[in-house]
Amino acid sequence: MRANELGERSVAPGGVVDEGAILAFRNIVKTFGPTVAVNDVSFSLQPGEIHALVGENGAGKSTLIRILAGDHQPDSGTITLDGAPVSFDHPGAALESGIGFVHQIPMFVPGLSITENLMLGVPFRRNAVGLIDWAKAHAAARQSLEQVGVDVDPKRSLNELGPAERQLVAVARALRRHPSVLVLDEVTASLTELEVRTVHRQIDRLRSQGIAVLYVSHRLEEIFRVADRVTVMRDGRHVTTLPVSDLTHQQLVNHIVGTKLGDLFVRHDPAPRMDDTVPTLEIDGLGDGKLIDLNLKLFPGEIVGIAGLGGSGRSRLLKMIYGAGAPQTGEIRLNGTACHFRSIADALAAGVGFVTEDRIADGFVDTLPIWKNITLPWPKRFSSHGILKLRQERMYASHDAARIGVKMPSVDAMMTQLSGGNQQKAIFARWISAPIRLLLLDEPTHGVDIRSKAQIYDLIRELTSQGVGILLVSSEIEELVGLSDRVFVLRDGRFRSVLRDEEITKDRILHSLLDEERQVSEHDKH
C-alpha cells in the first residue's frame, strides 16, 4: 500500500522516496516567518548508500539537517526511519533513534584523552564499586578507533591528533551508538586534500557495514569521489536526486546554481611581461627555521599558487610577507624595494593586503557593522585633521560592497547576519579599491557556496587586471589549477617544484606534494 503511494509520488515535483529506504524525507516544509527555508522536499537514503546533499548557502540544507537532528520541527511532512514515521521533538531524540551526526568542527575537550572524548555523552563503564573501569574503557576506545582506521593509543591526549584523525575520532564516537544513518556535515571543510582522502577511505568502509551516510559538502570534487547519489537543493526546494555517475561536474554546478554559471575557471591571460618588469613581490632566500631558503618572484597581474599540505608552512609564509612574523634569513622585496616590516601596519602601508584563512577567528569584528568592517584596515583614509568623515566612509564601503555583490540587509547590518559566502565577499570588499599591489589569499573560498566562489574568482581576476599580484594558498587543488599562472609546491618548508602552464594539473600537483624527487632547479624559479 505504501509502495503504491510512493509509486504515485515518483512524479511529484518535490522529489521521490524509494522503496526499502532506511531514511526518508517526505514533503518536508519549514518556514521561518515569511521565509520558506525548506519547501516540500522529499528524498531517501538506502542502507549502505553514501548520499550527498548539496546546495548553495541558504538552499535549505542546514535547516533540513537541523530538522533531522530535532533542533527544528517541520511545519508539515514526515521523516521515516526504516519505514516508520519518527518525530524528533528534542535534540537528543534523533541520536537515540539511531541517527549519528558529525559536524565540521567536532565538539571535543582537547585536554582530555582520546578515550575520554570518545566516551563523551555515552556513559562510562563502571566496575563493581561504581568507579570507572579504565581498562575496559580504553579497550573499547581502541576498538572504536580500529573501526575508523586510526592507529593511535587512546590514552593519549586528543591534542596530539591531526585534523583528519580528529574527524575520524568524531565519526568513531558517532558509531559507538550503532547508528543506521550517519550525517556528515561538512566534515572535510577544514581539511587539506590528503587529509580528505584519509577520511574518505574510512567513509567508504561504512558502506559495507550497511550504514547510510548523508554527506553534506561544498566541495563538489569530493562528491564525485565518495558519493553514490547526490541530492541537490536550491532555494529551499528539491531540485534533483541522481546517481553521481550520471552527472558531470558542470551539470552538477548548473543544478546547484540554477542558471548556467559558465565555467567556474575561465583562464585569464597574464599581463604581458617585459624583461625589465619589476616584480611586485620578490622573496630571496627567505627562511625562519621552519621555512628554508624560499625564492619566488611574482609579477604584476600574476596569480601564483602555493600548494602545500597543512603544516607545510604555507600560512606561515603568507604571514611573514604580511609582516606578522620576522624572517631570520633572506629578504622580501616589493616593487624592487627591500622591506623589513616590523608590523602588519607596515605591510599595509606598503600596499600588501591579506585575506585570512579563518574568517570567523580573525576575519572580521562581529561587534562592528559591515561598513566598518570593510574599512577596517583603512579608517585613516577617511579622516581629516584627525576626525573621521563617517558619512563618506560609509558611502565608500557600501559602494564597494555593492560592486562586489554582497547580499545584505544593509551596510549597517552586522557581519554575523550574512551567509559565509557574503561574509567572505565583504572581506574582499576591503581590498577591491584599496591602494594595494599585492594581495595574499589564504584559502579564499573556504566554506563558501558555489555562487559566491564564482564571484570571488571574478573578483580575483578583476584585481589582477588592475595589476595587483596575487599569492594564493589553497587546499582545493582545483582552485590552484583553475586560477594560477604558476604553482609552487611547498613541502617541509621548501619549494619542491614549480609548475607552469600545461604542467599545472591536479595530478602533477598531488604528485609533487608527495614526491621527494623533483626539485626546483635554479633557473626554473622565475
Binding site: 606578522a324 608590523s343 602588519i344 601596519a345 605591510a347 599595509l348 591579506f354 585570512t356 577567528a361 580573525d362 576575519g363 572580521f364 569584528v365 562581529d366 561587534t367 562592528l368 566598518k372 577596517l376 584596515p377 579608517p379 585613516k380 579622516s383 584627525g386 576626525i387 573621521l388 563617517l390 560609509r394 558611502m395 557600501s398 559602494h399 560592497a401 555593492a402 560592486r403 562586489i404 555583490g405 554582497v406 547580499k407 545584505m408 540587509p409 544593509s410 551596510v411 549597517d412 547590518a413 554575523t416 576591503r430 564571484q455 571574478d458 573578483l459 578583476e462
Partner: protein, 333 residues
Amino acid sequence: MTSTNDRIDGNVPGGSLVSVRKSIDWGSLAPVIFFAVLVLLFGFLEPSIFLTIDNLASILNNGAVLAILACGLTVVLAVGEFDLSIAAVASFAGALAAVTIAQMGWNVALVLPMIIVVGILIGLINGVLVTRYEMPALIATIGVSSLLDGLSMWVTGNSVIFSGFTGPFLALGDWRIGSIQAPVFYLVFIAAILIVILHYTVLGRHIYATGGNRAASRMSGIRVERQIITAFVIAAVLGALAGVIYTARQGSLTPLFGASMLLPTFAAAFLGSVTLARRQFHIVGTVIGVYLIETGTTGLLILGAPAYTQQLFAGAVLILATIGARYRNAKTK
C-alpha cells in the same frame, strides 16, 4: 564584473534599508524608560522634596565625579579589558593632592600636571602588565588597586585631611553656574571629548575593533597592544582627575574615598552598554547609567531608606543590566 548584475537587495550605495534597522528597539530603550519611571515615581510620592530644582541639581552635582570615573572605565571596557584599579587611582590622586597642597603647601599649577603624569604612569603600568606580561586584566588591576590603596594610606597616614587646602585648589571644585556645580561642567567637557575620540577618530575605531575581535583587528594592521595601553592610560588619567575634582569639591580628604565608587561605575557602564545600543560600551549610555543609579538612590533616601541602599541599588542594577544584555543577545542571535 558579472557579479554586479546580481540582485543586491536594496543595497544602493549611500542609501540603504537603514530604516529596517532603525525601527524602534524597545530593549535598548528599557533603561531610559526605567529612568523616567523612577523620576515619575519619586516625583509622585515626594513631589515637595524630590521634584525641586535643588534636589534635581544635587543629583546632577553628586553624580558628576562618579560619571567621570565611569567614563574612564567605559574606554577600557570598550577595548575589551577590565579596570578594577580606577577607583583606587581616584583615591590616590586625591591623597596626593591633599598631602602636597594642604600639608606641603605646593602650588596647584605644579600639583595638577604631576597628578596627571601619575595617572599616565599608572595607566601604562596596567596596560603593560596586561599586554606585555599577558596578565588577566582582572588580576593586574586588582593588584595595582591594592598597591595604590596601600600608598594612599601611607602618604595620608591613614587619617582624614580637612584643613590647609589653599584657595586656588578649592576654587577648582567650588565654582558654580546657578545650581550646577563645577564637576558637572568638567563631566560635560570630558564626555564630549571622549565621544569624539571613541566615535570620530581612528583611535576610537581601533579601540572598538580591538574590543570586538583582537585577532581580526591585528590582521587588519591595528596595533592592538597600543590600543589597550592607551585605553588604560585614558582611564587612569580620568580616574586621577576625578579624584582631584572630588577632593577639591569636598574640601577635605578621606583616605580610600574612591572604594565605594567602584561598583557603581561598573553597574553604570554595563547598564549603559545596553542603553540606546546593542551591547556596546559607550559614553552616553554610561552617563545615563550613572544618573539612573544616582536618581534611584537619592529617591530611595528621600523616601526614608537607609544609607546602605546605594550598595543594594547599584548591585541590583549591575546584575539586572548584565542579565538584560544576555537576554537581548540571545534574542538577536
